[in-house]
């Protein structure tokens, strides 16, 4: 039994769904942020598996760019979380209702 790229894509889909469930179920902003990272990783795995299936290297180039954007996103996002925590003393998104009107 050989492992085809479809197996990796199926696993990536499951990882993506778990990440999406983390976004929906958790209220800690840090854990929600980690869930975003998990979803990005799942998509990266899909890119690599598709690139192997089609025998092109473009998938790996895409993964490289996704990693750069994710790194920039982590820097800014964590800075925002720290700034909010310094102001509100909480990292729970349920208590950030300042825009509720």
């Amino acid at each position: 039994m050989t492992v085809t790229p479809g197996w990796y894509m199926a696993l990536a889909a499951v990882l993506f769904v778990i990440g999406a469930s983390g976004i929906l179920l958790r209220r800690n902003a840090l854990v929600m942020f980690m869930s975003v990272e998990l979803m990005l990783n799942a998509v990266n795995l899909t890119f690599v598996a598709a690139g192997r299936e089609l025998n092109v290297i473009d998938g790996q180039i895409s993964v490289l760019f996704v990693m750069v954007v994710a790194a920039a996103e982590v820097v800014v996002g964590l800075a925002i979380i720290v700034a909010v925590f310094r102001r509100r003393k909480t990292a729970s998104v349920d208590e950030l209702a300042g825009l509720r009107g």
Binding site: M1, T2, W7, Y8, L11, A13, V14, L15, V17, I18, G19, A20, S21, G22, L25, R26, R27, N28, L30, V31, F33, M34, S35, E37, L38, N41, L45, V48, A49, G51, R52, E53, L54, N55, V56, I57, Q60, I61, V63, L64, F65, M67, V68, V69, A70, A71, E73, V74, V75, V76, L78, A79, I81, V82, A83, F85, R86, R88, A91, S92
Partner: protein
């Protein structure tokens, strides 16, 4: 055969790490679960021939990004474990329903045949070495690569600007 064993072992590790990340109440455990998932994905990169990407994954994600996450977790405190009580009564069942719907949609989309117009390229299988990735990156993707430099500078400047905010400016909380 080796790839099958690697896939089974590290798929289990990746799923365990991901579920741990979502389920753990302590954010440190969540970070550890995510790190396990990221290492497993790096193993999958290797078995798919993306050796350079696997190295970058371990260095940047499992190294730098997770260290940053752990720093922030330590900074804002790990002693306050999140309670599982939900203020909105319908939120959690609705979320689980949406997750199930999304998973079913992924399964349906994955089982149907998609025609993207892209055919399998001839030639020897790609090996994802630094030479191959770098050659493609600097020949065909040079402008996007330069733009990422701009993006990283903007992100660094934005993080520094956010760090300069002080509570005593307006202080509504």
């Amino acid at each position: 055969m080796v790839e099958l064993v690697l896939f089974v072992v590290f798929a289990a590790a990746a799923l365990f790490g991901a579920v741990t990340m979502v389920w753990a109440r302590n954010p440190v455990y969540s970070a550890m679960g995510l790190m396990l998932s990221m290492f497993s994905v790096a193993v999958f990169y290797v078995s798919n021939g993306a050796h350079f990407i696997a190295a970058v994954q371990v260095i940047i994600y499992a190294g730098a990004v997770m260290t940053l996450f752990l720093f922030v977790i330590m900074l804002i405190g790990v002693d306050k474990a999140e309670t599982r009580t939900e203020n909105l009564p319908l939120q959690r069942p609705a979320a689980l329903g949406l997750i199930a719907l999304f998973g079913a949609g992924v399964v349906v989309a994955g089982r149907s045949a998609w025609v993207t117009g892209r055919t399998v390229s001839p030639g020897s299988p790609i090996d994802g070495s630094i030479e191959e990735v770098g050659g493609e990156l600097f020949n065909n993707w040079l402008l996007p690569f330069e733009i990422t430099a701009l993006l990283l500078i903007i992100a660094a400047a934005g993080a520094i600007a956010l760090a300069f905010f002080r509570d005593d400016e307006e202080g509504d909380a």
